[in-house]
């Protein structure tokens, strides 16, 4: 706002935008003379008997007088202001009647221009200062922790600080479907400080190992993300599996929150522990599930050197992504949005059946490839700024379905989608604003998981386009369905707010 004011001519600014803060004081005796001056919007007029207990929105940097009487009265009033304690001595400038306007304009220019530049500079410096001070605190704390460890000759690479063993209840239904549909959240029952890893227990592994387990760890109080693990089902061992953090948690002790979900086929079966009384620390899911009633995940938590695998644990998973303090939002695309899919196919073929449509009962988009061109369905405005990953599962839902290829594309809202599809069809490079996952081959025998990871999170809202095309000469029964759309969004810190009473 200060910039806006400074970019306009002074008089226009003053008359257009009444100021909330006032920087100059004058005596009420000079009010008539000064009110018409360029200074008027910056002035607070004070009575000689002025005895306020507080000043609201007033920063008296300078006193202005248009008469001797006004000057004396102002000085008396400023004397009284000393009791507020915080105010510095305020210089009083006596403006001569003959050059009142010019003098006032000069004062206003100094106040507005100088103050604007200084405040802008200081604001930046302050932001930097706050960050530096916070970093220094963490450095100090970590330095001391290292020093303590050194003196204590604490060379243990890793030690378990909490453990809650698995408990298999014969009545358990299993969590596999839940992991695919919504995911599970588990709070850690110890402080985050110095945690370097955790282990989860899997009691059963699937035969079909297509799919990934997605685990994210963040802090509850600040929602800051720590790390994300994308673990192919095939890497998971029966029993305990160790998830290593990129570094031991530092800073203020906070509550750690683990979110686990799966993308793909039937995931490995996570083990739950015994029942506990504190329901806040029981595993939670958006969808009610009988197994979770008062039971946390079987869980072990470790401190020590990051990356060091605890003895007797068969494997270690390093994070796929270090989120470094960003807030992570992992969500599934609502069905209502998929319902609005529009056919934007680019093909000379005119099929006798709808190739792109939403299947109500299956919550899936059909994108049947054609023998020529690209079949495409666009879902408008569903990719929010900050999206870093989109995943979905695709299947050719007919035993005799011919193979095809499938892909996802993101395009800015203002883009002509068919033009981008044409570029893809021609093998031309897409403009930098459009993002393409690449083609994946798919057969009726095997569903595929599309994991579209963006190099940098999107900076604007975009359209999502599902694409398919033929892989062979025939597309008979190639009923390609795409479903289970899942987006991961990183939220940056810059606040976007309206300003109160600005």
């Amino acid at each position: 706002m200060v910039d806006a004011i400074l970019n306009e001519s002074l008089s226009a600014t003053i008359h257009r935008l009444p100021r909330r803060n006032r920087y100059a004081v004058a005596s009420i005796r000079d009010q008539d003379a000064l009110e018409a001056s360029p200074l008027s919007d910056l002035l607070v007029f004070v009575d000689p008997d002025f005895d306020a207990e507080e000043l609201r929105g007033t920063f008296p940097l300078i006193g202005v007088a248009a008469s001797d009487a006004g000057s004396n009265a102002l000085r008396a009033a400023l004397e009284r202001l000393n009791k507020l304690g915080s105010l510095p001595d305020v210089p009083v400038v006596r403006l001569q009647e003959a050059a009142l306007t010019k003098g006032a304009e000069l004062v206003a220019q100094v106040l507005e221009g100088g103050l604007g530049r200084l405040s802008r500079h200081v604001a930046n410096a302050n932001t930097e200062l706050a960050t530096l001070r916070r970093e220094r605190e963490t450095l100090f704390e970590n330095y001391r922790a290292l020093e303590n460890a050194f003196h204590a000759r604490n060379w243990d690479t890793v030690s378990e600080v909490f453990g809650h063993g698995p408990f298999i209840d014969p009545k358990d239904q299993g969590l596999a479907a839940l992991l695919c549909e919504s995911g599970i959240t588990q709070l850690f029952p110890i402080s985050s400080y110095a945690v370097s890893g955790f282990a989860l227990h899997f009691r059963e592994l699937p035969k079909d190992k297509t799919g990934r387990l997605v685990a994210t760890l963040d802090y509850v109080e600040s929602s800051e993300g720590i790390a994300e693990w994308l673990i192919p089902y095939g890497s998971i061992a029966q029993g305990w599996n160790f998830f290593s953090l990129p570094k031991a948690c530092d800073g203020s002790p906070r509550t750690l929150r683990l979110r686990i979900s799966a993308s793909g086929g039937r995931p490995p079966e996570l083990s739950l522990g015994h029942v506990i009384t504190n329901e806040r620390y029981a595993a939670q899911a958006l969808v009610p599930h009988a197994d979770l009633d008062m039971r946390p995940l079987a869980l072990r938590i470790f401190t020590g050197l990051p990356g060091a695998r605890p003895m007797a644990l068969p494997n270690v998973f390093a994070p796929s992504t270090v989120i470094s303090g960003r807030k992570v939002e992992d969500y599934r695309l609502p069905v209502e949005l998929l319902r609005a899919v529009a056919n934007v196919s680019l093909t000379p073929v005119e099929p006798s059946f709808p190739t792109v449509r939403f299947l109500e009962l299956e919550d899936a988009i059909v994108c049947h490839p054609l023998s020529e061109g690209i079949t495409a369905g666009a879902v408008r405005r569903v990719v929010a700024p900050g999206t870093a990953r989109i995943s979905a599962r695709a299947v050719i839902d007919h035993p005799d379905g011919k193979p095809g290829t499938v892909g996802l594309m993101l395009v800015p809202l203002s883009t002509n989608i068919r033009k981008e599809i044409a570029a893809l069809a021609d093998g031309r490079a897409l403009p930098p604003t459009a993002l393409f996952s690449g083609w994946m081959e798919i057969t009726a025998a095997q569903p595929v998981d599309i994991n579209f990871m963006l190099e940098t999170p999107t900076s604007r809202t975009m359209d999502l386009v599902v694409l398919s095309k033929a892989a062979t000469d025939s597309v008979d029964f190639a009923w390609l369905k795409i479903f289970n759309f899942r987006l991961v969004k990183y939220l940056e810190r810059s606040p976007v707010r309206e300003v109160a009473n600005a």
Binding site: P88, G116, L129, A130, P189, S191, I276, T277
Partner: protein, 896 residues
């Protein structure tokens, strides 16, 4: 573009002494990620560092959402109030205020998370746990908010909380008196007093900078003075009914298993709607309380009985008192059994302690402490405990025998014994799958709150009493009055106290009778409905004590070894206490009075020792004159007497005694007709009613009757009363009276029996040596029986000689005997005069009523305003009305 404007949240930053840190606070606030609009109001509290001015001038210029107030130094409370007033004036659309101290920081999501929670919860404020930095310290402040903990334990909410603007609109502000180091705690208590409650939020936190020395530390050094300040300033919160009400809703003291219903009632006040727990929930709460006692509550006492027994107890008006006895006994032995008996004419509570291995029959109610259950489970002693369901009980036990008149309706018999219901619960707890994991605490922040199930002990400490009477404020603007009596037989002093209770009840008080020093009470139909609750406390309350002397008279001092905690637990928190001759209660009155109770002392008679030294209750009371707001006397004479000892007239209400029973219109008409008709020349009927002892002048009566016989006056005489027999039967007054043909009848107490005697007699002879203002005179007059009494005490205020009775001048015994015989002889001859006197007595009685007698006292007590915090509906910001339904029940949350 948004269709609706975003909510405005104000962040108030008081600033003094943190010039070098405030920028961090402001930067953290401005970095908030929220859907709300933010306004940051910095209230500079006369900070002498000009650096503050420079910083804020530049900061406010760069950030239009930053508002700055420079003010005179007014302390933290004053600075915050200045910010509040600014926000209410200049930012009226603000929905909430978050207080951020200038040396603290918020996390990016703090404001948004807290504001969302505030909106969803409808609480007055939302607070977080505390995580400090610089000096690391953490505190977990519980999974649910408790007003009880907040009042009597510690401040559990930092000012770094999101506070609804409604709190400030209701007038709540910070205390500006800097002598009080707990201005933040005081603020929350003000909000609680206005009916607001807090809500914890564990999903976010703020960054609390803690240095080696802090204002909090400084305040804690003078904690006792600050606590006294809080108690004085918030009397309404620290009163027993308020605190018990909080306990009832937040940490109920009792769990009651209703046999055969599979549910537990949880409550403290048995007269309020109870919360309910299933067995499953009870098991979870029990084990939750073991591992996380600050988060999960399980009542510290468990009882079992049938619904029918519970209803019976509720209708007995004794239940709160029974619970007090049960608490006390459960702390002296393992198990307490209650045995109920139907006795029409009496209420009583008696108990006996039985050793291990005692034989006892089935109980109507069984009561144990939860500590015992824990020990049984930990020590694997279920077999030992199970013997409570058999004939021979191995745990030590107490048997509480409660007698009272049962209602006429037939009670259903329960087919499941309460002992078995209790055993079922203990078995369920023992075998629960939660048991193996219960000892692990999952909440990682350290516990800072007391165990919820121990709060009843903190409450005892707070009130200085044990056990604490489990009665809370009840719906509506009811004031509460406690009438204290030392015994509850058929004496006149008790009846007058009952009459006082009846008048108070008729004038809107919830009335409680405390029989202190006795465990029984005779049922007197006339006054049986005068009290809403009846309480007995026998042990440790002596009728008389002499640990100090005042004007040579005995009084009880604080050093006396009586059961002070028992009395304080029972008696604290009433709006009015009328002490009717309970000597042991005098030393407590000043404490009750300073806590907001109005105190009154009811006195009836100045006694005499054998050496005729004036003695008795008035002197024990006058020693505590300053502790009473009012005195009640039965006569103008006693009023003057008290005044002569320094009690101002303005504090004394002379309440003329009325009759101890009332008669219906039919009986009154019959009696009037009979008296008018007269009995011709039939022998005169003389009646004496009362103890056959020296005070009542039984020797004078004997001699008078002998003289009448000698003078050959025809009369029939009847003496109704008892005497303390000596070893020598010849000295018995009963024998001696019978020897002169007097019909001697045992004492009667029922109104109809007394009325029958009085209706029979022509003259009631009362040759007492000393009296107060005997009720018997008024009772005789209302039946047209002419009272003939020695003019002692305030008798002359009840009898106008020659108009509605006969006064015999107090003189030597011989003179009195002669005068009485002479007067009776005259009336025996002059039946017309006797008839006029009878009519005069009836006329006097017709004008006399207890309501008229108590009118001035009732007018005084009408000015008593109940001291209670505002009740506010949970789902609205408006104070609740009188309707007790629904909303009250909503407050009773599950204890798990």
């Amino acid at each position: 573009m948004r269709d609706t404007p975003q909510d405005l949240v104000a962040i108030a930053v008081p600033l003094y002494g943190h010039a070098a840190l405030v920028i961090e606070a402001l930067e953290s606030a401005l970095a908030s990620v929220t859907d709300c609009r933010l306004a940051v109001v910095v209230s500079v509290d006369g900070d002498p560092h000009h650096e503050v001015f420079d910083q804020l001038t530049l900061h406010a210029a760069a950030h239009p959402e930053v508002h700055v107030i420079f003010g005179e130094n007014a302390g933290p409370g004053g600075a915050r109030n200045r910010a509040i007033d600014y926000i209410l004036d200049e930012l009226p659309e603000a929905k909430a205020i978050y207080f951020l101290d200038a040396d603290n920081r918020v996390l990016p999501g703090t404001v948004e998370t807290l504001y969302r929670r505030l909106r969803a919860s409808k609480a007055g404020w939302v607070y977080t746990n505390i995580d400090t930095f610089s000096v690391n310290w953490r505190a977990h402040y519980g999974n649910s908010y408790s007003r009880l903990i907040h009042c009597i334990s510690d401040n559990i909410c930092d000012t770094g909380s999101m506070i609804s603007i409604d709190v400030f609109r209701s007038g709540v502000r910070f205390e500006e008196d800097r002598q009080n180091g707990f201005e933040d705690w005081e603020f929350w208590l003000s909000a609680v007093e206005r009916g607001f409650v807090g809500e914890p939020c564990h999903d976010t936190a703020f960054e609390y900078r803690l240095r080696a020395e802090s204002r909090f530390k400084e305040a804690n050094r003078d904690r006792s003075a600050s606590m006294s300040f809080l108690r004085r300033r918030h009397k309404a919160l620290f009163r027993r009914p308020t605190l018990v009400g909080f306990e009832h809703e937040e940490a109920p003291r009792y769990a009651l298993i209703r046999t055969g219903e599979g549910m537990l009632d949880v409550f403290t006040d048995p007269t309020l709607p109870a919360g309910q727990m299933s067995f499953d929930e009870a098991v979870q709460a029990f084990w939750g309380n073991v591992g996380e006692p600050d988060n999960v509550h399980f009542p510290p006492f468990v009882a079992a009985c049938s619904s029918e027994t519970l209803q019976l107890l509720a209708r007995s008006r004794l239940l709160p008192n029974i619970l007090c006895h049960l608490e006390t006994l459960a702390e002296r032995c393992n198990v307490v059994s209650v045995e109920l008996s139907n006795v029409v004419s009496q209420r009583s509570i008696e108990w006996e302690i039985l050793p291990s291995g005692a034989q006892q029959g089935p109980a109507d109610l069984t009561f144990v402490s939860t500590d015992l259950i824990r020990n049984v489970i930990n020590d694997d002693a279920l077999d030992w405990f199970s013997s409570i369901g058999r004939d021979q009980t191995w745990p030590t036990s107490a048997r509480l025998k409660v007698s009272f008149p049962f209602p006429k309706a037939r009670q259903r018999r329960s087919l499941i014994r309460p002992e078995q219901a209790l055993l079922n619960l203990v078995s369920a707890l023992t075998t629960s799958p939660l048991r193996p994991t219960a000892s692990t605490r999952w909440t990682w922040r350290p516990r800072r709150l007391p165990a919820l199930s121990e709060l009843y002990k903190l409450l005892r400490t707070e009130l200085g009493g044990s056990p604490v009477l489990p009665l809370a404020h009840h719906a509506g603007p009811h004031r509460t009055a406690a009438v204290l009596v030392p015994n509850a037989s058929f004496g006149g002093a008790e009846k007058v106290a009952y009459a006082a209770g009846r008048e108070l009840r008729q004038n809107g008080f919830e009335t409680h009778l405390f029989v202190l020093g006795s465990g029984r009470m005779e049922v007197i139909d006339e006054f049986d409905q005068a009290f809403d609750h009846l309480h007995f406390w026998k042990d440790g309350v002596p009728a008389w004590g002499a640990s100090g002397q005042f004007l040579g008279q005995d009084f009880i001092t604080d050093e006396h070894g009586l059961d002070w905690t028992g009395l304080k637990g029972l008696l604290s928190g009433f709006d009015l206490i009328v002490n009717n001759h309970v000597m042991a209660a005098h030393p407590l009155m000043a404490q009750f009075r300073s806590a907001g109770t109005r105190t009154a002392c009811y006195l009836h008679v100045v006694d005499e020792t054998a050496f005729k030294r004036p003695a008795g209750q008035p002197f024990a009371a006058i020693a505590f004159e300053h502790a009473y707001d009012a005195f009640l006397t039965c006569s103008e004479q006693l009023k003057s007497y008290l005044h002569s000892f320094g009690v101002p007239f303005g504090k004394i209400f002379a309440v003329p005694n009325g009759a101890g029973f009332s008669i219906d219109a039919k009986l009154r008409a019959e009696v009037t007709e009979a008296r008018k008709a007269g009995r011709g020349s039939e022998p005169l009927r003389l009646l004496y009613m009362g103890r056959l002892d020296r005070q009542k002048g039984i020797d004078r009566l004997h001699d008078t009757l002998v003289q009448l016989k000698e003078r050959d006056i025809a009369f029939e005489a009847r003496a109704v009363g008892g005497e303390i027999l000596s070893d020598d039967p010849s000295s018995s007054w009963m024998t001696r009276l019978r020897d002169i043909s007097v019909e001697v009848a045992p004492p009667v107490f029922a109104a109809k029996d007394i009325a029958a005697h009085l209706a029979w007699a022509d003259i009631l002879v009362m040759p007492s040596r000393w009296e107060g203002a005997p009720l018997m005179i008024a009772e005789a007059q209302q039946l047209g029986c002419v009272p003939m009494a020695t003019a002692v005490g305030a008798v002359d205020e009840l009898v106008v000689d020659g108009q509605d009775g006969v006064l015999i001048k107090n003189a030597a015994d011989a003179q009195i005997v002669v005068e009485m015989a002479r007067t009776i002889a005259i009336l025996a001859r002059d039946r017309a005069t006797l008839g006029r006197l009878a009519e005069g007595a009836l006329a006097t009685a017709a004008q006399r009523s207890w309501s008229a007698s108590f009118a001035d006292f009732i007018a005084w007590s009408d000015a008593i305003v109940p001291t209670a915090p505002t009740q506010r509906n949970a789902a609205s910001s408006k104070p609740a009305g009188d309707d007790p339904t629904g909303e009250t029940a909503l407050f009773v949350r599950a204890v798990a």
